[in-house]
Amino acid sequence: MTVQDSATTALRVKELCVDVATPEGWATVVEDVSLAVDVGEIHGLVGESGSGKSLTAMAIMGLITHSQSARVTGGEVLLGDVDLLKLSNRDLRRHQGKDLAMVFQEPMTSLNPAFTVADQIGESIRYHLGASRKEARERSIELLEEVGIADARRRCNDYPHQFSGGMRQRVMLAVALACEPRLLIADEPTTALDVTVQAQMLELIRSLVERHGMAVIFITHDLGVIAEICDRTTVFYAGQVIESGLVGEVIKGPRHPYTEGLLRSVPADDDLPLWWIDGSPPLPGQVSSGCRFSPRCEYSKNECDTHAVPLRLSADGRAIRCALADDLSLNGRD
């Protein structure tokens, strides 16, 4: 892989590992994950539910260092030259919300039920930008309007429970965008939104990317959204990166059987029966030593179960974790 110019790389994650507590002890659920996101780039993370996308995002944000049930066991998270994993809480807080901000997958667990929406959006504007209470409030109203909340001036005094599921998601986006962060991590930010509102949110994110060169990590299970707004994509399976590359190339020519399966699950013709990858992913702590997808893989050979498969980088910037990749010709979508 070419050494990327650090002036254009907004974030670089190297060999990140996260463990979670299970009844049988600690289990690794994010293993050696590496990612790089350029300034002005939108990088999409996809993968089955439970594959480690949110934990990766939380680790980057510095949010699992003090948790009882999860811990970062290795790796680096470089924002410019600073390794966020090495910062003290106090130094980290100076970055959170300003340099990097996150839209959480579950708005209700991250919005504070005891504060009005205006207070929550205004808080980081006051903390980071030193705005007055009144300025922060006006800016909060503007932001609510930008995320399509009607009657924002009045509704900014409401509490989170007074909003619908999709409206809460948009409030989260407003909180995250309040200080125009250099890096936005958006964890399933549009799952509760219908397509018209979703299109509006995607447009808002894209405009910030274009205007300010914001870098974005966009976690979604919607391949349509990946195709629409992302430049690159990284596919997760059972805690590992199994494929990565430019969006167009991955969709047209997947090189890992799991990616092929995900693409095949996209309904094509309404008359064809629904298709899915049989079986379930391994539970944390119950992964085999060989390829983790092998038990569900239609191309699997004996060797797949016995040898751990390294992530291989090819000359064209693709990364694939499949021992058979060179021999398979997989179907994408076009």
């Binding site: 993968g47 009607a150 539970l283």
Partner: protein
């Protein structure tokens, strides 16, 4: 019993303090909705975020008070039953939530989660556990009874939630965005599970979703909501092929495609204009502030609920007041209209 659920002219408000005096003024977020769900039928409720879908789900289950209207569940009028009198009927309608993470009690094992709703029944503990075990097996989760929610993937958790909803043998399951948190492969697995349960057990679903490709797969009929009102209703096939309401058309046109094929609705209609304010809808047609085809009449007169061919009904002046649509229908009309604006602006896409 042919209808499992009948809702007629139901309105729902939330109390809301406003102004300096903090006077409470109700905010009506669901206005006069009527619909039915037949036995073994899947009815989808789609519509914009904040349009009132979850409110309808909760009101129908009497988890929220209603202003007026009638709710009949499995032939029993439950509108005014006391919570106590309601209890035996509650089991007839179960709810599955969007979020498989927070909707399951983290301190209970899978089998306890499924067994719990059976506790009010005249069954021994052994019978309840056996029944719960069978239910888990029927959703493809045999042999994992003693595990806790966090040990399962999102798709597996959603299957536990479905098994729990099925436990009291309800006539109706209301699914509020049951698959939107899941990846596509898992979504497909769950949808086909719901479909096979409908066939084997005859349960009906009220299926709330904003994902039209999912709705198209599973629903017999679809109800489209906008700003607290139902604006269109009909057989899924028909509504998707030739919607009568411009909002439905806009919804259909905005689905992001994985690959550049939006053939059926090649052009995306981007909705502009003021969003509806809950509780204070604009006069006339509620959609007129954002409708690309709004006429004068739309700004002043509420369009009447009208029945069209093929079992489709809806409210839109384009079809009724001195119809400009002729026989070509809304889809063709919209394409022509957009083509001519493109020519005027000298551009090719909207």
């Amino acid at each position: 019993m042919t209808q499992v659920l009948e809702v007629s002219e139901m309105s729902v408000s939330f109390p809301r303090r406003s102004g300096l005096l903090g006077k409470s003024q109700p905010l009506r977020v669901v206005e006069n909705v009527s619909f039915e769900v037949g036995k073994g039928e899947v009815v989808a409720l789609v519509g914009e975020s904040g349009s009132g879908k979850s409110t309808i789900a909760r009101a129908v289950l009497r988890l929220l008070p209603i202003d007026n209207g009638r709710i009949t569940l499995a032939d029993v009028d439950i509108t005014t039953l006391s919570q106590r009198a309601l209890r035996p009927h509650r089991r007839n309608a179960q709810l599955v939530f969007q979020d498989p993470y927070s909707s399951l009690d983290p301190s209970m094992t899978a089998i306890e989660i499924v067994e719990e709703p059976l506790r009010g029944f005249a069954m021994s503990r052994e019978e309840r556990l056996r029944s719960a075990q069978e239910l888990l097996a029927s959703v493809g989760l045999a042999g994992v009874e003693g595990r806790y929610p966090y040990e399962f993937s999102g798709g597996q958790r959603q299957r536990i939630a479905i098994a729990r909803a099925l436990a009291p043998r309800p006539a109706l399951i209301i699914c509020d965005e049951p698959v939107s948190a899941l990846d596509l492969s898992t979504q497909n697995q769950i949808i086909s599970l719901l479909d096979s349960l409908r066939q084997s057990l005859g349960v009906s679903y009220l299926f709330i979703s904003h994902d039209l490709s999912v709705v198209r797969r599973i629903a017999d009929r679809v109800l489209v909501m906008y700003a607290g009102e139902i604006v269109e209703e009909g057989p899924t096939e028909r509504v998707f092929r030739d919607p009568v309401h411009p909002y439905t058309l806009a919804l259909l046109s905005a689905v992001p495609a994985v690959v550049g094929d939006r053939s059926k609705h090649a052009k995306r209609i981007v909705l502009e204009g003021d969003l509806p304010v809950p509780g204070a809808p604009p006069p006339g047609c509620r959609f007129h502030t954002r409708c690309p085809f709004a006429m004068d009449v739309c700004r002043s007169e509420v369009p009447a609920w009208t029945e069209f061919d093929h079992g489709v009904s809806g409210r839109c002046h384009l079809h009724t007041s001195g119809s400009t649509l002729g026989f070509s229908g809304l889809t063709q009309f919209a394409e022509d209209a957009m083509a001519s604006t493109d020519r005027d602006r000298g551009q090719t896409s909207i």
